[in-house]
Amino acid sequence: MPSILNTITYPSDYIRQQYSLVKAYLEDEYLGQGNLCVSENQLVWAVTSNETERAGISIDYPSLTMHGIVTHDPKYPEEHLVVVVQKAKEDEEDDENSENHQGDGDQQRSDSPVEYDSIRTVNYRFVMATSEDLKIAYQTIAECQALHPDPLDDMVEDDEVGSDIDYGEEDENNGNANGNGHNDDDDPYGYNAHFASSNQELRGSHFTSRRRGQHDDQEPIGRQSFEKESLYVNFDEDILNPSF
């Protein structure tokens, strides 16, 4: 048994899907063949056993960066599920080899203040018994991810903003992109979302969008330099400091 496997508690409830005969890999290391369990609270792979406490891995959805179906990879010829997991901060020192974080001499972007939010991740790969298992596992993991949105950011918990958020409204506004009485001509993208509800949607996501080709300008610019040529919307700043 590889030494990197922990002893984990196999889920006993809120199980959406379970698969047997699943081979697991952590980066290049083969972990063994066992069960993959997609529960609503965590994604678990563990060796097949009758015990509740087993050798395996347990992944929380908030640290599940992305997952996908890989069909063509020269290094991993079998079709499989890749699960990219964020490492805990204390693991960063141990990791010398298998990291997805750039740092091998390309220092151009690591010094930029914008990249303070860099995270380190590792890849798990699961080879399922059938193609159908693979597809369903992918879909089920996606569904469980949606059950674990990020909690409200510290940055957004401002006196001005946080206290006005009424989470009871969230359900009303779900999926209601155009429901504010404006016709589509005025509001083709359904942009007339209310400030409070939109803030709920955006909490925890540090999104900026920029046009392709603009790689030099890393800084998200503030309200003052809101030019036509560049499209930077820094949600956290703009929401905290409206200064029109």
Partner: protein, 96 residues
């Protein structure tokens, strides 16, 4: 809901997502949800030499909170409209 609506309007378009682990992946936007979790199809990892671990992913689900940037095709974005909409949204009075 503004950017949720915005990205919904881009379903079917080619985008490039840069994640906080510095990975950039290109793909076709298949769906987006209210948390800005994103599903892509026909995914390619950009700079596969630097990141040989993930290539040719047919479907990928990316958690919204780990996305740093989404690069958009300029022709598919009405930046004027988007700027106006974001300004309008921020100056709107908050619901009681």
């Amino acid at each position: 809901m503004l950017f949720y609506s915005f990205f919904k309007s881009l379903v079917g378009k080619e985008v490039v997502i840069e994640l906080k682990n510095d990975l950039s992946i290109a793909g076709t936007l298949q769906s987006v949800d209210q948390y800005l979790n994103v599903k892509l199809t026909e995914v390619q990892v950009l700079d596969p030499e630097k990141y040989p671990h993930i290539q040719s992913v047919t479907s990928a689900f990316v958690r919204g909170s780990v996305i740093r940037y989404i690069q958009l095709p300029p022709d598919d974005v009405d930046t004027q409209l988007l700027q106006e909409a974001t300004r309008k949204e921020i100056t709107q009075p908050r619901k009681e």
